[in-house]
Symmetry: D2
Subunit: 213 residues, 4 copies
């Protein structure tokens, strides 16, 4: 089942009930990132930690959720003249690349250029070449907690990118790959009894001050 | 020069001026993580992205700044009975391990146990064995933007851990390694002119609606 | 279908035909690593690069194939007194951890201790605690070319480790996860024609000597 | 002190004595990779594991040493027409990028294209854009054992690339960064006595056959 949720809805349509029933969330945003409520972002982030998949598209690189999962600013350089983007697959063995050719062209796109401020464990699957002279890590995955994220760059609102067959294939593969492997909260942080014997110590824990054995 | 900053000070003592003059910030916190102001946390995070080093100690794994740089919950399991912790060095070639033996013992410490919810690019330098039966990734580094973070686990407030010579050596090495390599903001996100010629396209960018070439 | 192949067979039973028909290869070896023929190792390595899964067990950490895929020596420290090994799962969301509890005990095992000389992209799923005081990264995955490797530590020949239900579960999960995603040689290294126009240059390529434009 | 060593010398000029006295080794090779003696390659690899730095240039991606340290085939696609290469810096905070601009152009170079078969822990510092339409991970580091490797792509023998000021700056930075942090063999694999007490077990280790407790 596919639902939509928009900024204008109460809680942006992302209530706890909706999120709890969501396996994979697709996120597209552009000019209104700072209008997204922090509490909703925290809720989405918790769901990713619990196992929900998250697919962030295009300008979503500046969304709060993208930045908080990367731990970075998400910044990059950009140009909006409608130039050729050629997408290269650098990890053909990844399930998200299944059936995708070595490269494919998107005739008109916005340019995003490096350096792209993302986490060091970004597993890069796609890299883009732009007609005007830049390169970009256009598709990468992250794991955060029990959940996975996939970022895919193409998708400017002024071009028919989301009708491009290879783009659609990547997104479909991404959604399939993002389905939760496990979907449950981190086991309640507990104070386990020792599993192995602990030798007697010559002090008392929990006295005031620093122990001076 | 060494300064201190505490929760009770205005802006927790971490004003923009103080942070701008800081190369490496050490962070220790325990029960009051949620009393730390979000605006101050955002300011510290920005300084890390610009190049400042950050050394997070012990219970700082639940601080807002640790969680936001990892993109994870920072959760773990724990036990506070004052048991033996043996710290193993798993990357002897790292500058933070310089002069540190293959392993060293801390006779009384709090236990932290796996799974530890941290980022996938955590470069693990130290791993701990606990008398009661657990293991833990006790020392690791991250890069976020232009800055570096080092997390080091030992340091419970009830024990004289910060007088342990090997612990002090690791912290000193950490501070040295965390000094900024470069320290400047990410170049203003710009819209560069094309570096290479872009062929004429048969549409106008910036018309309303999706281009249908 | 399951086959076996042993050192004493011609080509150790790992002919090109057998390997071509193999999805996942399990490797156990101990005292005779240097008796394994280099040509056979190169053949196995090529099959991993083409997509075959490889599960290396226990003392296989010193096999030629393990060392060549890691690019490291595979060294570690060890003790053979039959002590308790407690295996902790540090990535419960990984398919290889499916159904495996937070930790399980193997009552008698050989000890392997850190530092373990493995590749930096080892994705660690299991870590072990040993009764005598050591820790170890006991289960990790690597990708090399189109294929995947999984290393799992337990399995000393003097103990009934391979009858332990959790060990068997991990191995079964590992085999399932190692099945090839794609299984084909890297596309013949080709000299593609330019995809985008290359401006005329004022020199001739392939003259003798360094071009001095 | 700088020395040279060539294929035609005995042991290719890389005797044990020479290597033991080497902090950083630069490797350039092209057509004769398979003429390099396996024993010499094993010796170089061991020195990297012990701490020696290794800088591999251009077509060295198909050298035995590059492939053995990556654990991969080192393959890529290529074209030799003398086209523009634009090198982008994607990690400006890395010491190897010190003083290097956001991008620089090499007017005539051979093209190398993705997918580039390298290890997953390649830390990418430079990425290249080629006039004919390809992208490439042109500069990356690896750690193997106690030593570091840096690969840098530019350097085709038919062009004056090694006179390009930015290329020379990258190489100089690389050499500086590759100097050993520690330089010693991995501690002799030992059989340590237990550090913590091991409970008596009800079997004898080293009997013939599998213990059946």
């Amino acid at each position: 089942m596919i639902r939509t949720a928009t900024l204008d809805e109460p809680e942006h349509g992302l209530t706890q009930d909706v999120l709890d029933a969501t396996d994979v969330l697709l996120w597209w945003g552009h000019a209104a990132h700072d209008k997204v409520d922090d509490a909703v972002v925290a809720r989405v982030r918790q769901r990713v930690w619990d196992g929900m998949g998250l697919l962030v598209m295009h300008s979503g690189h500046m969304s709060k959720i993208f930045r908080e999962l990367n731990g970075t600013s998400g910044k990059l350089h950009w140009r909006e003249v409608g130039e050729l983007e050629r997408v290269w697959c650098v990890d053909p063995a990844h399930p998200i690349a299944a059936g995708v050719p070595e490269h494919f062209d998107i005739p008109y796109e916005e340019m995003y250029g490096e350096p792209f401020m993302i986490a060091g464990d970004a597993h890069v699957i796609f890299m883009s070449w732009f007609e005007g002279g830049e390169v970009f890590r256009s598709g990468f995955t992250l794991q955060r907690g029990f959940g996975r994220m996939f970022y895919f760059r193409p998708g400017h609102e002024a071009f028919p990118t989301f009708r491009h067959p290879e783009v659609l294939k990547v997104l479909a593969n991404g959604i399939r790959w993002l389905r939760p492997v496990i979907d449950m909260p981190f086991s309640k942080t507990h104070r386990p009894d020792p599993l192995s014997p602990i030798a007697p110590k010559d002090f008392k824990v929990h006295n005031v001050g620093i122990v001076n054995p």
